[in-house]
């Protein structure tokens, strides 16, 4: 308090001090003399400038790494006095990001084209008469950029004031509250009061489908959604209609957003104009716990963040991964979460004599299975791993059934005669990011738009950027890039292999040709012959070289790659038709009619989907959001899921159930911890242990596969995925997916 009094005394203006303390000797003004005024030499001594102040080193925004493709071509600009080296062609905004200064923006997005219409990124550049839009201005060498001067600050306040003028006061009811760019930037860069006393305009809401909720009054016309739909999703549905303050973003005619990437506009919209309809009014973002995990609805393994509150998964957001999914996820990935709440198996059950299930304890269920499995012969035991199984549980299943004497463990979707020998025969050797370097694509029996939407987005990115040519063999389909429909079946393939087709010359002249084969071809009887034809095409087109491997297989399910890596190859292809004991680990898409009526079926899974109706014993397991599991995506990158929510009821992890069962059955597996399983996997397929890594393959099937005498059958290629929205147990249980498939599928 005493110090405060001193401070307040010091703060009193000097004039009043003069009045209070009258000067002595009648002097009304104090005359001071400084050394400079006394002699010229002293002033020269003072004239030396202070040494330049030490500028603290700066790091680029968000820890980004700056890549200078041509070190000689780097130019130097000054951001707030700090010199920074950037590649030629970068904009002023990107140069400021390299220097660690985050400039506010609404319409600029680093994956979309530059619009420059929000004007929030205005900064002052020396020698420029007015502030420049940093997102659009290329940085020239020697430019002096100032981001914290009064002009820049006034510009930002002004722009913010204009943006808020017609923006409704919806924050309490708007879903974007808490993660809204407008809120954050107005707190950081806006002024504290507005001067708008007129009536705000309002805009009619548009119906974009069951996924995207629109409140168009909140729209600030940044056009990010229009550019996303045009460029990345490839559907030109959204546009800017009208002009001036009556501008509206809409589809003009009533059109639903049917693109499989339509959910990404929810992330992209900086305000609450486009939000997630299923997530509307459910939670605020600060209540949610985010868990970084991997998506398993398709084989891409997009990186996601599961936002959960307590035991419930409330929404799924994408995570940045430049190599796999950039920052987009497909609609199926984003909205399948409500299937995790429905049709869950939570207690072990045994089917009684009357055909009805009865909940029992784990002890009883495992004891029953252990008893039955000893009554059948080893060649009558069959194990089938499902689409969503992780590597640890598949390893445990294979080990357990091998120890019981069975060699018939397989995975769904790999066909009857999977060839798991050479890894290059079933993964995307080019890598998803590597597809950007390709200049000719040959799609054989695959429709990437419905099978792996992120791979399709990458192909579209390449086609847009470099006008790559795409040839497609399969049933007629609409894709969001220009492609040449070469044919519908194996005849075209034979023509290409023998060099008779005109597309062969395109392949030969290509610098980096890429062949993408669909995993739907695994199910064909003549798969060996088809693959050898494709390998001939690859050899003729010089697709596989030491510096470029363009031979790719696009898998359909999350578990396929790991299953083939672990060697889940059945010894006899039709073993299931003569089986007496069938162990289905999440396998819902096998043909249940193949199972003989007297076979004992154990179903271990998390949803009561289809196979449950044939099962004799149900063992509840946890879903991908509740367990830590290793998944390998279609390009061979190993990723791990993390548990976001606790599991349901009495369900356990898959591998733990198998381990317990093995003990009850008398063939105890030698590991009982995750580390133990991983060491075991390390002796089978060591690449499955190195997480977030992609192991390149050494030997290619084009040279190493033995010749086959199979004849190609004339049947045309079919569609591997009939309904994009309903492909596995989780999506089939989801209400949102049911709505989507009713409203959004193109008939």
């Amino acid at each position: 308090m005493g110090l405060g009094l001193l401070a307040s005394r010091a703060l009193r203006p000097a004039a009043s001090r003069l009045l209070r303390y009258p000067p002595r000797h009648g002097l009304a003004r104090a005359i001071g003399s400084t050394p400079e005024r006394q002699s010229p030499e002293a002033s020269a001594a003072q004239a030396q400038p202070d040494p330049a102040p030490e500028l603290p080193p700066r790091k680029p925004v968000a820890g980004a790494r700056v890549h200078l493709p041509n070190p000689e071509d780097a130019i130097e600009v000054f951001v707030d006095g700090y010199p920074v080296k950037i590649p030629k062609g970068m904009t002023v905004l990107q140069a400021c990001e390299v220097a660690g200064v985050d400039i506010p923006r609404f319409c600029y997005h680093n994956r979309l084209s530059i619009a420059g219409n929000c004007r929030m990124c205005l900064v002052e550049v020396e020698k420029s008469p007015k502030p420049v839009a940093s997102c659009a201005m290329p940085a020239l060498p020697g430019m002096k950029i100032k981001t914290d001067t009064p002009i820049a600050k006034k510009a930002r306040e002004g722009v913010m004031e204009f943006l808020l003028m017609n923006h409704p006061l919806d924050c309490p009811i708007c879903d974007q509250g808490g993660e809204c760019d407008l809120q954050d930037q107005s707190m950081a860069f806006g002024s504290d009061r507005g001067r708008f006393t007129e009536v705000k305009r309002s805009v009619v809401d548009k119906n974009l489908g069951p996924l995207v909720k629109t409140v168009m009054t909140r729209c600030i016309q940044c056009t990010r959604c229009v550019r996303f739909a045009t460029e990345i999703a490839g559907v030109q549905d959204l546009g800017v209609l009208g002009r001036g303050s009556g501008e509206e973003i809409g589809t003009y005619v009533e059109k639903l957003m049917t693109s499989e990437l339509s959910g990404n506009v929810i992330d992209i919209c900086p305000v609450g104009a486009l939000t997630s309809k299923p997530f509307a009014f459910k939670a605020r973002n600060w209540e949610l716990k985010g868990t970084e995990t991997i998506d398993v609805t398709d084989a891409v393994g997009s990186n996601i963040r599961i936002d959960s509150r307590g035991p419930e998964v409330l929404r799924i957001l994408p995570r940045l991964n430049e190599d796999i999914n950039e920052e987009w996820i497909s609609d199926k990935t984003r909205f399948c979460y409500d299937g995790l709440k429905r049709q869950r198996l939570n207690d072990p059950m045994i089917r009684g004599a009357d055909g009805r299930f009865q909940a029992v304890s784990w002890h009883d269920a495992l004891a029953m299975v252990g008893e039955v499995i000893h009554k059948v012969g080893p060649e009558e035991i069959v194990g089938v791993a499902g689409k969503l199984s992780d590597a640890e549980s598949m390893m445990a299943l294979k080990d357990f059934l091998n120890r019981m004497g069975s060699n018939n463990v397989m995975c769904e979707g790999n066909g009857k005669h999977p060839n798991a020998d050479l890894r290059s025969g079933y993964i995307m050797n080019t890598g998803i990011a590597g597809l950007e370097k390709a200049d000719v694509f040959l799609l054989v029996g695959t429709q990437p738009r419905v099978e792996a939407a992120m791979v399709n987005a990458r192909i579209r990115k390449t086609v847009r950027a470099t006008h790559a040519k795409v040839g497609y063999i399969g049933p007629p389909t609409d894709s969001n890039y220009d492609h040449e429909h070469l044919g519908t079946g194996p005849q075209t393939l034979t023509e290409l292999a023998e060099g008779r087709h005109p597309f062969c010359s395109t392949l030969k002249n290509a610098k980096n040709p890429a062949i993408i084969v669909g995993a739907g071809l695994f199910e064909r009887e003549d798969s060996d012959a088809i693959f050898s034809a494709i390998e001939t095409i690859a050899k003729n087109g010089n697709v596989v070289r030491p510096d470029w491997n363009g031979y790719n297989v696009l898998l359909l399910h999350a578990a396929q790659a790991a299953a083939l890596d672990l060697g889940l190859v059945p010894q006899s292809p039709d073993s299931i038709k003569s089986a007496k004991f069938v162990y289905l680990m999440g396998a819902d898409d096998i043909n249940l009619k193949d199972i003989p009526d007297d076979a004992f079926v154990v179903y271990q899974g998390h949803h009561g989907d289809q196979s449950v109706y044939r099962a004799n014993v149900i063992l509840p397991a946890s879903a991908f959001s509740e367990k830590e599991g290793t998944y390998e995506n279609t390009e061979g990158c190993i990723q791990q899921t993390l548990p976001a929510v606790p599991t349901v009821g009495d369900a356990r992890d898959d591998w733990k159930i198998v381990r317990a069962l093995s003990e009850v059955a008398g063939v105890q597996l030698p590991y009982d911890s995750v580390g133990g399983i991983r060491s075991r996997i390390w002796t089978v397929a060591p690449n499955l242990v190195s997480v977030d890594e992609r192991e390149p393959t050494t030997f290619s099937t084009t040279t190493m596969r033995p010749n086959t005498n199979q004849k190609i059958s004339p049947n045309d290629f079919g569609m591997a995925v009939e309904n994009f929205y309903m492909t596995d147990a989780i999506t089939r249980a989801s209400k949102i997916m049911a709505q989507c498939s009713a409203m959004l599928l193109k008939k």
């Binding site: 080893p378 080990d399 091998n402 120890r403 019981m404 004497g405 060699n407 798991a420 020998d421 050479l422 890894r423 890596d565 060697g567 190859v569 010894q571 063939v667 002796t683 089978v684 397929a685 060591p686 690449n687 242990v689 190195s690 192991e695 390149p696 393959t697 050494t698 030997f699 190493m704 596969r705 033995p706 010749n707």
Partner: protein, 92 residues
Amino acid sequence: MAWRGQLTKNLRELRFLFCQSSPASSSARSFVENNYKELKTLNPKLPILIRECRGTEPQLWVRYDFGVEKGIRLEGLSEEQIFKALKEFAKL
């Protein structure tokens, strides 16, 4: 070399693990490169899994019935030695 076609009598699975680039695995790599096609043509039903991973020691694993597995390290072994080891495994 008739035993090469009889591998499926006793073996259920054959696995070659090696590193893509290290010199220790070079003999394993060349063995696979030279002999995989022949072995597979003679035993089309036998899964011969080739698994490469950076930093792995070269190993050969075989699996018999009832999950019994045996493996040896292939470091420093020449092609004939690897064949001899395989023959040993196939007999048991």
